[in-house]
């Protein structure tokens, strides 16, 4: 048995060129900087990655999401020195949104385009400038690296850029922080970005992250890991708006750790564009009276693949989680939803809700959905459900019979389908923007 596994890995290693390239480039030559406590973490992470390699579809978590073509068929530049190509951020602009802006170009903080400076209670900086911070030492790799995602290990070992955000104690930010991630490299590149966001006790903030592609950018594979800590009584509203171009391929791992009486809401929205998107969003409810909401709207087109894997991990009693994901698939695209809920033995009086609804518009589109509940406590309320359907032709006809065009009727019905999720958006401006993107992304039937 062991031999078999070993053979498998050997095959993987030989076959994927990015793997070979990474081992050759970084074996015994990992990025290093002060303080050197990071060196050991990187070394161990690299070993972990080395032994597993990139996942294959034989692994349950990657069954429908094949990264092999991405790591095999393409030669990547590993270090993208961003030439000062003109960076346009207009594709990320959210009409009517007044926000502190942070622009990250290929993972690197761009001071010229960023405006989130000198705001009381808000610290924003390139992650390598935060290495000396106490909270960095405390939280970096503390949670994400406990998972078995090989991309996290790889990121931990090799990242050199990313974003650090800290919202200070009792600070309630007046405006949202809008983080704009721009993929701009003109050569095919593999970027690894590492973010750490810390919400101090009683802090309240809204972080909106947009992913866009710069004009003329080449194919890119972006492996991002974000670690988020929401401390006692803090509240974070967190939006992902994936509007990158088809050259973009994204692996986003988000690991959230929540302390007592905190609130974390994630709104994860993907639109036609990026060819490949794999999100892992894991929320650890680390203490009692924690509340977490995970919402998702995915609209796919062409041959896109969007895979959302979430974990809601109830560890302590009296917590509530609420998860609702909606997928709308067009053309030959694929959407994957995998929602795990753990209720640990300690987590009595847990209230956990999960729902995933799918609307297949493209006759050749596909949806794979899997709720997974593992409940080890007895006094809990958990519910989950998923549905797969198509356009309701009766409804379509009803609307048309009142003079509404078929295209407009489709928009109305898709809005209606997404309503359970969009109506929960805390930020009305973002909601309107997302509804507009849905409208734009819908093809005439």
């Amino acid at each position: 048995m062991l031999d078999e596994v070993a053979t498998d890995i050997m095959i993987t290693q030989v076959s994927d060129s990015l793997y070979t390239q990474l081992i050759k480039t970084y074996g015994g030559n990992l990025p290093s900087s002060e303080p050197h406590s990071l060196d050991e973490i990187r070394k161990q992470a690299f070993e972990r990655f080395k032994s597993t390699g990139f996942p294959t579809v034989k692994q349950e978590d990657w069954k429908y999401t094949n990264v092999q073509p991405l790591v095999n068929r393409q030669h990547y530049a590993l270090d993208t020195e961003t030439l000062s190509a003109a960076i346009a951020i207009d594709k990320a602009i959210i009409p009517g949104l007044d926000a502190y802006r942070v622009v990250m170009v290929d993972g690197k903080y761009n001071a010229d385009l960023s405006t989130a400076k000198d705001i009381p209670g808000l610290s924003v900086m390139p992650i390598d400038q935060a290495f000396e911070r106490l909270c960095f030492a405390k939280y970096f790799s503390e949670y994400a690296d406990k998972t078995d995602n090989p991309f996290v290990a790889l990121n931990t070992a090799l990242f050199t850029s990313g974003l650090f955000i800290e919202v200070g104690k009792n600070c309630q930010l007046q405006k949202p922080v809008h983080v704009i991630h721009v993929a701009s490299a003109s050569k095919p590149s593999f970027t690894q970005v590492r973010n750490l966001y810390v919400m101090s006790t009683f802090a309240e903030a809204e972080i909106i992250e947009s992913f866009i592609t710069n004009e003329g950018a080449a194919h890119s594979l972006n492996n991002t890991v974000s670690e988020i800590v929401v401390r006692e009584n803090a509240k974070l509203q967190h939006y992902y708006l994936q509007v990158a171009g088809s050259q973009g391929n994204y692996l986003n791992h988000t690991e959230v750790y929540q302390e007592k009486h905190s609130l974390y809401n994630n709104y994860n929205c993907s639109f036609p564009g990026a060819a490949f998107i794999r999100n892992n969003i894991n929320v650890r409810l680390g203490d009692s009276e924690v509340e977490s909401h995970l919402y998702g709207v995915t609209l796919t087109a062409d041959n896109q693949l969007v895979d959302n894997h979430t974990i809601v991990d109830h560890r302590k009693p009296h917590c509530e989680s609420y998860e609702w994901y909606k997928n709308i698939t067009q053309d030959t695209s694929t959407a994957v939803f995998n929602g795990k809920i753990f209720v640990r033995p300690d987590a009595q009086k847990t209230n956990a809700f999960q729902q995933n609804n799918n609307m297949l518009i493209g006759e050749k589109s596909a949806v794979y959905t899997k709720p997974q509940l593992e409940i080890f406590a007895d006094d809990v309320k958990c519910s989950h459900g998923c549905t797969i359907g198509q356009f309701d032709n009766e409804a379509l006809f009803y609307l048309q019979a009142r003079g509404i065009s078929e295209a407009q009727a489709r928009v109305l019905l898709v809005h209606a389908f997404a309503f359970d999720v969009t109506s929960r958006f805390a930020n009305a401006i973002v909601r309107e923007y997302v509804e507009h993107l849905v409208e734009q992304g819908l093809k005439a039937g």
Binding site: A401, R402, G403, I404
Partner: protein, 254 residues
């Protein structure tokens, strides 16, 4: 206004309408009665343009225009309105938004600008009153969780908002208690004018006490087999549909 000639229609390869003729002039109300399964709803659906119904012969003209050529939305914009026998529930689409979209699309088709928000709301208020449609319902999702009677009243509210040329009411009376029936009938009567026309499909004579028709037709086995004035409805009520079936089948046998 509407002229239907030799209309044949089938659904799932089954012939339902088998040569139907009907002339409706502006200002008239026509009642269509007939036993269950005779093709009454099929007629409404064919006129409104539901895809599943295939017209195999005949023609339908609305003020000289070939209706069967048009998409369902263009038929609506030309002034055809079908009050559904079974209105559809659409969660997540608000009644008001839906109406505003519909009204403005119809206006755009006629080259009119969208209604100002205030004008629209005034119209909503006025028409709600006309059909005694609860304002609370207007703000909810379209028909979601409405009772059978509320759904039917919503159809009439939409009718009052859209002011079509030709309204086809498909068993709007079924599922209504006597009070609701009166309200619906009063609404329809107030909307009647010399410029519009109504086709009232019903199984029972009862509704016709309140919406008094100019003509009554009996549809049986895909054809109009009797036409007359409102007295025909009373006769039907008295003698029952078996009488029609027997006499028509006997004629056919000759």
């Amino acid at each position: 206004m509407l002229s239907i000639r030799n209309l044949h229609a089938s659904v799932e390869a089954k012939q339902i309408l088998k040569g139907l003729d009907l002339e409706v002039k502006a200002g008239e109300v026509h009642a269509i009665m007939g036993p269950n399964g005779s093709g009454k709803s099929t007629l409404g659906n064919v006129l409104a343009g539901r895809e599943a119904y295939e017209v195999t012969a005949g023609e339908v003209l609305l003020d000289g225009k070939d209706l069967l050529e048009l998409s369902p939305e263009d038929r609506a914009r030309e002034g055809v309105f079908l009050a559904f026998q079974y209105p559809v529930e659409i969660p997540g689409v608000s009644n008001i938004n839906f109406l505003k979209t519909a009204l403005n699309e119809v206006r755009a088709y006629k080259g009119l600008p969208p209604l100002e928000a205030k004008e629209f709301l005034n119209k909503v208020k006025e028409r709600q009153k006309l059909v005694e449609f609860d304002a609370k319902l207007a703000n909810r999702s379209l028909n979601e969780g409405f009772s059978g009677g509320e759904k039917k009243r919503n159809e009439i509210f939409q009718l009052a908002m859209l002011e079509p040329k030709l309204a086809i009411l498909d068993e709007t009376d079924s599922g209504l208690d006597i009070d609701a029936l009166r309200i619906v009938a009063r609404g329809v009567n107030q909307l009647r004018s010399k410029d519009n026309a109504f086709i009232v499909i019903t199984h029972y004579q009862r509704l016709l006490d309140y919406i008094v028709p100019d003509f009554v037709h009996v549809l049986y086995n895909g054809r109009i087999v009797r036409s007359g004035t409102k007295e025909l409805a009373l006769e039907l009520e008295e003698k029952g549909y078996d009488w029609i079936k027997e006499t028509v089948d006997a004629e056919g046998a000759v």
